[in-house]
Symmetry: C2
Subunit: 294 residues, 2 copies
Amino acid sequence: MKSRITFIGLGNMGIGMAQNLINAGYKINVYNRTAAKTQELTGDFEQFQTVIEATEDADIIITMLSDDDALKEVATSKTGFLQIMKKDAIHIGMSTISPETSRELYELHHEKETHYVTAPVFGRPNAAATAKLFICTSGNKLIKEKIKPILEVLSQGVYDFGEEPGAANVVKLAGNFMIMASMETMAEAFTLAEKQGLDREKVAEFFGETVFNAPIYKNYGSLIAKKQYKPVGFKAKLGFKDARLATKMALDVKMPAPLLSLVYNRLMSALANGKGDNDWVEGISGGVSNDAGI
Amino acid sequence: MKSRITFIGLGNMGIGMAQNLINAGYKINVYNRTAAKTQELTGDFEQFQTVIEATEDADIIITMLSDDDALKEVATSKTGFLQIMKKDAIHIGMSTISPETSRELYELHHEKETHYVTAPVFGRPNAAATAKLFICTSGNKLIKEKIKPILEVLSQGVYDFGEEPGAANVVKLAGNFMIMASMETMAEAFTLAEKQGLDREKVAEFFGETVFNAPIYKNYGSLIAKKQYKPVGFKAKLGFKDARLATKMALDVKMPAPLLSLVYNRLMSALANGKGDNDWVEGISGGVSNDAGI
């Protein structure tokens, strides 16, 4: 019999992931702070009004929330699920959060005889909807084996980084830094080409087809070249949150990272200019354009 | 009958390119400042002791030199070929130089009733040897058509950027900036992961297989992850030259480019520390490691 899964957090990413689990035949409970969001789901699932109700019979709880605080609220607060989880139930933390929070949750679950596995994802909402995510994992080996079939339903690949619970978060935050750094790289290169009289879209196409033919450069490259910042795929304020978490990680281990500081400040400037809810591509590429007066 | 080509500049890149032209059946004259370099060539070619002798009967002259000054010496100096080129002969400038130098050469050739086409390349020496380069072109349309078969022998793709002679140089310098920026990106991400207790090679492999699966990230990513800086593929001082030319381009058009400034200073520091002849990967990745005390 397939495990009963509770899915918490039906945002742009979570909605597609939950749908894929329903389609794969899992029994799904869902909880979202904004209940109306679940109207986008189709098929067999049960919706609950509180975290406690949604999770009390769950074998697996998946959290896909926007930040550390949102996760702590549903997991460890007075109204959180940690107090009522079944013995040996598993919490899969898929949000982009700090490694410290994963380490804390791992300990707290351990005390309660439940389990915590870290499993953040790479991919935009369309990758979530089409099960083309990449998932990084860290945590207890046996528990990771148990949940592997679930992660495989959601992704095109699962990559493990060992037993230290925070490790997958380090990879995820390092990766989001790399994506922001790539955006800064492309924005500076294409803007320089534009100011030198070239067609920035043609320049972007060239690099996307040749030495930089990776999804990040093709997809973000096209958006940056066209200065196409809508629809919003990922908000600048969430990008800033990740730059902040990565900066905190760097600070914790005494790691000077000037490029990380650059993108951190680039996105802080987007927030300072009231653009926190715009796409992070605009936060970075728009900042480079503004600096250059175009 | 195939054109007689003179190839000037048999460095790490030029040697493989000249060999591919010989293999394709072209009649090749070669000239290199250090004559001994030609000993690596096999097959049918003629070697000359002076630029003038090497170029006087050439239909096509290809230059593949380390910088603007080296190019000007063989082309426009008293001992250069511009004064003796046959009418309608074509000079293909494949070095990584400033757009200004291409614009000047284009004019000078025009006055002499000869032709200049800009055609810088992307690829390391092994790509030159295996004809896997990517070539960017700019200049007169008819002349570009004429030389296309030659460029196809050397490359896996030729990408045109219009008639303005400097345009292909802008793309090449923007691309080399993007490569340096990618190295800084990876070096910071992998060093952060390492200081957080992760295996940096595993992190590099993950990104190279997933969201950053482009040659630049795979190849340089592996070198940076392993801190493997030998053999020297491209010297830090040549990378610095390109960062300097890109910075000059940015200055000319009033384009603030903080990431470009960052890699410019990173490589200047490598030169200041006596590492100009080491690989540019060491210049950047070694700088990040040093900053982080590892």
